[in-house]
C-alpha cells in the first residue's frame, strides 16, 4: 500500500490523459462548498442565531459587524424589517437545497422515464413524446416558469413542480438519444431472445445504462434550477415571503441598494453564486468522468 508512485512528466504537446485513479482528481472545493451548504440547510434550526422570519423594527438596516454601527449580535447585519441576515441566509440555504434537489430529481425521473419510453418503444409513442418535448423546449424556460407560477400562485412546492415541468424535456432528449443506440446492442437483443417483456428490458437493461447520463445532467441542471428559482423569487412569483429564500432577499435588498445597504444584496447573491458555481464545476467534472458521450454537450 505504501509504494511511492513515480510521476513521469509528459512532453507538453501530448494531450494530458487521465492517469490518476477514477476519483483521484475530485474537485474538492466545489464538493466542500456544496456539502457545507447542505449541512447548513439540515442544521439550520441549530445554527441560526435568530428567528429568520421575525425581526424588531427598532433594529432595521444594521450593517455587518465590521462596519460602524454593526455589532456581533447581528454578524451580517439586519434587513428592512430588522431580521437577522445571517439567520435568513442559513434558512435560505434550506429553501435552495430543497427546491434545487427535489426539482432536479422530479424533472429527472419524468424526463428519464419518458426518454426511455420514446427511445425504446419508438413509433407513435416516440412521435408524441418528442413532439411535446420539442414544443416545450421551444419556450423560454424562465418565461414559461413565470407563466405557470402566475397561474398556480406562489408556494415552495408549486415552484418545485413548475421547475420539474419546465426542465424534464432536457433529460428526455439526452436519454432518448442514448436509448436509441443502446437498443441495438447485443445484450438487449439477447434479452429479447430470452423472452423478456418490453417493460422488463426497459427497467432491467436500459435504465441502469442511462442512469449515469441522467445523474450528470442532473448535476448540471442543479445550477440552472437554483438560478431559475432565485429569479422567480426575485420577481415575486417564487417562494412567498416571509420565508427566507435567497432570491427573495435580493429582491427585498433592492430597496436599500441606493442608500448603500450593500450587504442585503451582495451576501445572498454571493450565496447563490457559490452554490451555482460549485454545482457547475462538479457537473463538468462528472461529465468528463462518467460519461464520455456527454463531453460535447
Amino acid at each position: 500500500m505504501s509504494t511511492s508512485i513515480e510521476t513521469i512528466s509528459l512532453p507538453s504537446d501530448l494531450s494530458p490523459r487521465p492517469t490518476a485513479s477514477r476519483l483521484g482528481d475530485t474537485p474538492l472545493i466545489p464538493l466542500i462548498i456544496l456539502a457545507t451548504i447542505a449541512l447548513v440547510a439540515i442544521f439550520a434550526d441549530v445554527l441560526a442565531p435568530h428567528n429568520p422570519e421575525v425581526g424588531s423594527l427598532t433594529a432595521r438596516f444594521r450593517p455587518p459587524f465590521w462596519q460602524a454601527g454593526g455589532s456581533m449580535d447581528h454578524i451580517f447585519g439586519t434587513d428592512q424589517l430588522g431580521r437577522d441576515v445571517l439567520s435568513r441566509l442559513i434558512f435560505g440555504a434550506r429553501v435552495s437545497m430543497v427546491v434545487g434537489f427535489t426539482a432536479v430529481i422530479f424533472a429527472g425521473v419524468v424526463g428519464t422515464v419518458l426518454g426511455i419510453m420514446a427511445g425504446y418503444l419508438g413509433g407513435w409513442v416516440d412521435q408524441v413524446i418528442m413532439r411535446v418535448t420539442d414544443a416545450w423546449l421551444a419556450l423560454p424556460a424562465l418565461t414559461f416558469a413565470i407563466f405557470l407560477a402566475a397561474i398556480v400562485g406562489p408556494s415552495m412546492w408549486n415552484i418545485v413542480i413548475i421547475l420539474g415541468l419546465v426542465y424534464w424535456t432536457r433529460y428526455a432528449r439526452v436519454v432518448r438519444g442514448e436509448v436509441l443506440s443502446l437498443k441495438e446492442r447485443e445484450f438487449v437483443r439477447l434479452a429479447i431472445v430470452a423472452g423478456c417483456s418490453k417493460w422488463t428490458i426497459m427497467r432491467r437493461h436500459i435504465l441502469p445504462n442511462v442512469v449515469n447520463s441522467a445523474i450528470v445532467l442532473a448535476t448540471l441542471m442543479l445550477g440552472v434550477v437554483i438560478v431559475t428559482e432565485a429569479s422567480l423569487s426575485f420577481l415575486g412569483v417564487g417562494v412567498p415571503p416571509p420565508q427566507p429564500a435567497w432570491g427573495l432577499m435580493l429582491s427585498d435588498g433592492k430597496q436599500g441598494l441606493m442608500v448603500g445597504y450593500w450587504w442585503l444584496t451582495v451576501l445572498p447573491g454571493c450565496c447563490i453564486m457559490l452554490m451555482v458555481l460549485s454545482a457547475n464545476l462538479l457537473g463538468d467534472w462528472l461529465r468528463v468522468k462518467l460519461d464520455p458521450q456527454l463531453r460535447q454537450l
Binding site: 414544443a135 419556450l139 407563466f147 432565485a230 429569479s231 451555482v276
Partner: protein, 306 residues
C-alpha cells in the same frame, strides 16, 4: 426542398398548437379561469359576465376553438391595469426590448468572439484557462445579481451611471452588460469549439503549408468559417434575449417587454402575462423554423436527411 420546408413548417405549427394547448389547459386545470381574467375583488356579476364573454360555460373544445379564434384575430384580450389591448401594449414596449437586446448582443459578440478565438489559438495555455474561467462565471452568475452589483458599484459608490430608467446612452450600458454577460460566455464557448474544429481542417493545414503567416491563416481562412455557427446562435439568442430580459429589465426599470411582464405579474394582470408568453413562444418557434430553412438552403445534406 419543398418537402423539407413543408415538414418543418408542420412541426412548427404543431409546436404552436401544443403551446396553445398547454397554456389553455393549465389555466383551466388550476382553477376557474374567470378568477384570473377579472380584476381582483370583482363582483359576482363581473365573473358571470366574463363567463359569458369568454364562453366559459361552453364545452372545453368549443372554448379552445374560441380561444384560438381570438388569438388568430390578434385579440389577446384587454389589460386590466392599462385598459388597452394587450397586443398594443406589447408593440409599444417591443422597440425598447429590441434596442436593449441589440446593444447586449453587440457587447456579447465583441467580448465572446475575440476571447473565443484567443482561447482556441492558445488552446491549453493561459488564455484558454482564463477563457474557461470567464465562461464558467458567465454561466453561473445570475443576471440580476450582476445587475445589482453594477448598480452598487457604478451608481451608488461611483455615481457614474444612472441606476434605472431609459433615455440617454448612459442608461443602456448597465442593463446591456448584465443581459449580455451570460450570452458573452455562451458565444465564447461556441467560438472556441467552432474555431478548434476549423483549425484542424485540411484547408487550414494547406494554408499553413503554403507558408501563410499565422495572422492570415486565422483571420482569413479559419475565422470566416468558424463564424457561421456563431452567427446562427447569435440570431437565435437575439430573440431569446428579448424573452429572458425580464429580470434585467426589472432590476433597471427598463421599459421593455420584460418589464411589462413583471408589471403584469405584480398587478395580477393575467391577460398581459398570457399574451407575452404566447408572443415569446411564437417568436422562438418562428426563428427556429427560419434557421432550419436557411440551413437547408445552404447545406443540402440537411434537407436530404430523413
Amino acid at each position: 426542398m419543398k418537402q423539407f420546408v413543408t415538414r418543418r413548417l408542420g412541426y412548427s405549427l404543431l409546436s404552436l398548437l401544443l403551446l396553445s394547448l398547454t397554456i389553455f389547459f393549465f389555466v383551466r386545470v388550476t382553477g376557474d379561469p374567470a378568477a384570473l381574467l377579472v380584476e381582483p375583488g370583482a363582483s359576482e356579476e363581473d365573473i358571470a359576465a366574463i363567463h359569458q364573454r369568454f364562453g366559459l360555460d361552453q364545452p372545453l373544445w368549443v372554448q379552445y376553438g374560441l380561444f384560438m379564434l381570438n388569438l388568430a384575430r390578434g385579440d389577446f384580450g384587454q389589460s386590466f391595469y392599462y385598459q388597452t389591448p394587450v397586443l398594443d401594449l406589447y408593440f409599444d414596449r417591443l422597440p425598447n426590448s429590441l434596442l436593449l437586446a441589440a446593444v447586449a448582443m453587440a457587447f456579447s459578440l465583441l467580448v465572446g468572439i475575440p476571447s473565443g478565438i484567443l482561447a482556441a489559438v492558445r488552446v491549453g495555455r493561459f488564455w484558454d484557462s482564463a477563457g474557461k474561467m470567464f465562461a464558467l462565471l458567465g454561466l453561473s452568475l445570475p443576471s440580476f445579481f450582476v445587475g445589482l452589483v453594477l448598480i452598487l458599484v457604478f451608481s451608488v459608490f461611483l455615481g457614474w451611471l444612472p441606476s434605472s430608467g431609459s433615455g440617454g446612452v448612459l442608461h443602456i450600458l448597465m442593463p446591456a452588460f448584465a443581459l449580455g454577460w451570460y450570452f458573452a460566455a455562451a458565444h465564447m464557448r461556441l467560438t472556441r469549439s467552432s474555431m478548434l474544429e476549423v483549425l484542424g481542417s485540411e484547408y487550414v493545414k494547406l494554408a499553413r503549408l503554403k507558408g501563410l503567416p499565422q495572422s492570415l491563416v486565422i483571420g482569413k481562412h479559419a475565422f470566416k468559417n468558424a463564424l457561421i455557427p456563431v452567427v446562427t446562435l447569435a440570431g437565435i439568442n437575439l430573440v431569446l434575449m428579448i424573452n429572458v430580459a425580464v429580470v434585467v429589465e426589472t432590476v433597471f426599470a427598463w421599459p421593455g417587454v420584460g418589464r411589462l411582464l413583471y408589471e403584469g405579474i405584480s398587478f395580477r394582470d393575467f391577460p398581459v402575462v398570457q399574451g407575452i408568453v404566447i408572443m415569446g413562444g411564437t417568436m422562438i418557434v418562428a426563428v427556429n423554423l427560419l434557421v432550419d430553412v436557411v440551413y437547408a438552403v445552404i447545406d443540402p445534406r440537411i434537407r436530404l436527411e430523413k
